[in-house]
């Protein structure tokens, strides 16, 4: 008898089959991922998730006997009351008495399973039609930078430092007095001259011998002391360095007045999710603050933020004030990187505009890393699509400009418009990474 320990065998034997299944069901799964977003919290976007799909393209048909037609009989355990010949009303909805076929029947039109974090993110981002580069940035989990760190004596050929190697070789050659080519050539020339003499004297012959001997010595020395020796080799050394450990806070501001419908809120949610994903790539610790507003603002939890509606007018400055209050209270700009994401349908009291602009420009932009304003609207209904009417808030924010790359504003109708907002953010990343 043998006992074999298989626990250390390679894991994930089913991985290939799993991937094949996901590929086959890709369209349905993507739809399911989209649906599950509404029930997910932003912070949970990075955890694995359960989805359920219809078994349309993935059922495996076999010839099966129908569970409704025909005559059948059942043998069941646990009789307490029946006698032979009793008649019982057929239980509603199928095979009498919950027979043998129950459970193997048609009960399986939904298929539920768990997607891993990578699979979930991948499908989510694919649905937004993100470019591949951006996807990699968002899904990659490494938070290291590569940094030059001097030289080393071993490494891969591609990181060979030629100047450093040659410098070492040269000093070694000098130190060990390796004969130079010029030296040897001179000697050979002298020998050739003496050999060319028609009538060499005794002294010439002696010199010639001495010279030849010396040439032999030099040549041997030259082969022994190589031009470049393995000990001269130097490679550039790189080190992985953790990105600066720091913390960030995202302020999600949203207008929740009656004019924001479900479609708009969904767009806003995707926007917040993307920002969260992006920011978690850059910072070790990320917090989110949700502030909703009508004509007054309050900090709420995520549930309330997305799913409860309020009535009232719209005063954007109230939200900005609330945000400043929270910053002052909990998130000092000295310790925190602050991001602001604001979503609204663009309504605002006209007389509130000057105050909003002033707050944004003078108080908020100086303390945040980046602020993005997203104006959500319904998908354009067919017909004439003229120049869109600039909303109140849009007009107000237009005065601010881009504030040195810190402020971006976009209009979105559908999910795939959202990504371009981040393009600024990504392009800016390259600059800040070097300076930070």
């Amino acid at each position: 008898m043998h006992i074999i320990d298989r626990r250390l065998n390679p894991r994930g034997k089913s991985l290939v089959n799993r991937q094949r299944f996901l590929r086959r069901a890709r369209d349905t799964v993507r739809g399911a991922v989209r649906d599950s977003l509404t029930s997910r919290k932003i912070r949970e976007i990075e955890s694995e998730g359960e989805v359920s799909i219809k078994t349309g393209g993935i059922n495996e048909p076999t010839f099966r006997r129908d569970s409704h037609s025909g005559n059948r009989d059942h043998v069941l355990p646990g009789n307490r009351v029946f006698r032979t010949g009793d008649r019982i009303k057929r239980p509603p909805g199928g095979s009498g008495g919950g027979g043998d076929e129950a459970g193997t029947g048609e009960g399986e039109d939904e298929f539920r399973f768990v997607l891993s974090r990578e699979e979930f993110l991948d499908l989510f981002l694919e649905d937004l039609e993100l470019p591949d580069l951006a996807k990699r940035r968002l899904t990659g989990s490494d938070s290291f930078d590569i940094r030059r760190a001097g030289y080393t004596t071993s490494g891969s050929p591609s990181s060979l430092s030629v100047p450093r190697t040659m410098r070492n070789a040269m000093s070694r050659r000098l130190a060990l007095r390796r004969p130079t080519t010029a030296e040897i050539e001179e000697l050979e020339k002298e020998i050739a001259r003496l050999e060319a003499k028609p009538r060499p004297t005794e002294k010439d012959r002696a010199t010639l011998d001495a010279l030849r001997e010396r040439l032999a010595v030099l040549n041997r020395r030259r082969t022994l002391i190589s031009y470049i020796d393995p000990i001269d080799l130097r490679y550039r050394r790189f080190e992985q360095e953790r990105r600066p450990i720091s913390q960030a806070v995202i302020f999600c501001l949203m207008d929740v007045s009656g004019s924001m419908n479900e479609h708009m809120k969904e767009l806003a949610k995707i926007f917040f999710i993307l920002l969260y994903l992006f920011v978690t790539r850059c910072y070790r610790h990320v917090e989110i603050v949700f502030i909703r507003h009508t004509d007054s603002a309050q900090e709420v939890d995520e549930e309330t933020f997305f799913y409860s509606t309020e009535t009232g007018g719209t005063r954007v400055s109230s939200a900005l004030e609330e945000m400043l209050a929270v910053v002052k209270d909990r998130y000092s700009p000295l310790d925190w990187n602050i991001y602001l994401a604001q979503a609204s349908d663009g309504d605002n009291f006209t007389r509130d505009n000057p105050q909003t602009t002033a707050l944004m420009r003078n108080e908020i932009l100086p303390i945040v890393q980046y602020a993005a304003y997203l104006e959500v609207s319904n998908p354009p209904s067919g017909g004439v699509t003229g120049e869109e009417r600039a909303t109140n808030l849009w007009q107000a924010y237009s005065e601010i400009g881009d504030a040195g790359g810190k402020f971006a504003m976009r209009r979105v109708h559908s999910r795939k418009d959202i990504y371009p907002v981040f393009r600024d953010l990504f392009s800016r990343r390259g600059v800040t990474a070097r300076t930070s």
Binding site: I4, R6, D66, P77, R90
Partner: protein, 512 residues
Amino acid sequence: MNAPASTLLYSGSDWNFDTLQRIYEACENIAIGELDLNVYPNRIEVITSEQMLDAYASTGMPIFYKHWSFGKQFLANDLLYRKGLRGLAYELVINSDPCISYVMEENSATMQTLVIAHAAFGHNHFFKNNYVFRQWTDAEGILDYLEFARHYIARCEERHGQAEVERVLDSAHALMQQGIHRYPRAAPLNLNAERRREEERRAHEESTYNTLWRTLPNKKPAQRESRDMRQKSLGLPQENVLYFLEKSAPRLRGWQREILRIVRLIAQYFYPQRQTKVMNEGCAVWVHYRILKRLHETGQITEGAYLEFLHSHSNVLYQPTYDSGHYSGHNPYALGFGIMEDIERICRDPSDEDRRWFADFAGCGDPLDVLKDAWANYRDESFIAQFLSPHLIRKWRLFKLDDREKDDEVQVAAIHDEQGYQEIRRTLARHHDVASIDPDIQIVDVDFDSDRKLMLEHNVRDRVLLQREEARQVLQHLADLWGYQVILTEVDATDRKTLNSYAIDPRPGIFY
């Protein structure tokens, strides 16, 4: 009893490989020494729960080809397991030589004892001795064959593309249950016998030759005969659809035929397991119960371990009644073990009734002999038909319901009384007959003269038709493989009336 600690195999729930070895030897002493079981050599492999899920997904086999449906299976099990809706099986056992049992690392020492007794001796004995397995499966060759299958399919994927291969597999999987030879075929005739028979025929003709017959006018061969000829040359009617396609489908390519063959042979390998579910589990439970009981009696396991064992033992045997809300058919463990325990009782201490019903072995005093004979020579259907006793029918309070299509009510046809025993036993046995659970579908004719239509017939029993939507999908796969139209007629088995029919054309561009 208080045994000295030194005879204990283990204490507590931890185990290591030495413990396993000791447990195995103790079990072996009882299984081989006392019960005299006849088993394949054993191999025990320790795996993690994740690997167990992997094994689940490929129908329990350690090696299998790749297909998306196994991924689907994996995800489904994975979810149930994570949510705690379903525990994993403690073991998996493979009918091969050597017999491989997988045990999970999470199991406690008692569970490992249970698992070794259950799988490595119970199932193993059954695999090696039962006639269905001996007739249909090749325990020595299966792992090599699966390895071959995996390589072959991987090579096909490289050569013909994954999508192509996947389509063939999808279609083959749909017809998997129609890829089984249910009856052993006659051994192929050998040439000598064939020649001898031919000579006998000629001698008979010569001896009965009469010139008068030549004067009869020549009759044209009837249409009927040509159909018979055709059926004979194609081996029709044929219920093994995959076999027929492999041999006779006009447009399939070589590698596609080979894939059909692989799927067919694997289906055939699993066929005995479906036929003997009740007996196989019953046998394994009976063996582990006996072994653990002996271990306890001889003081090799502690009282606590024995209680732990009894707890999971009785969980396995739980049979809810029909109205309890948990009922989902008969529990094969409970049914099999119940009957086997009852056989033991009848051998040792029969009542008058038992003597009437089981005259041949009641009171014989040697249950092991009777059981071994049953394990070797019966399958579920015949086992239940032979051994389900009135005592058990009363104990489980079995009753039979008749459900006629035209009635609004169901009728209680038999209960656990003198008039009902036979009928209940017969019906329950029939419900465990795979041949009566699966629809009886056969290829009856091919029209090779004109449009190559493939004709199939479903012999409808009790007017239970096929589930329409799925039947249509399966026929679509069949038509794709065949390359021409496929017609399925559902015919009532008793009065030959046509009840329903399907005609499906192949989708262009799937295979051709």
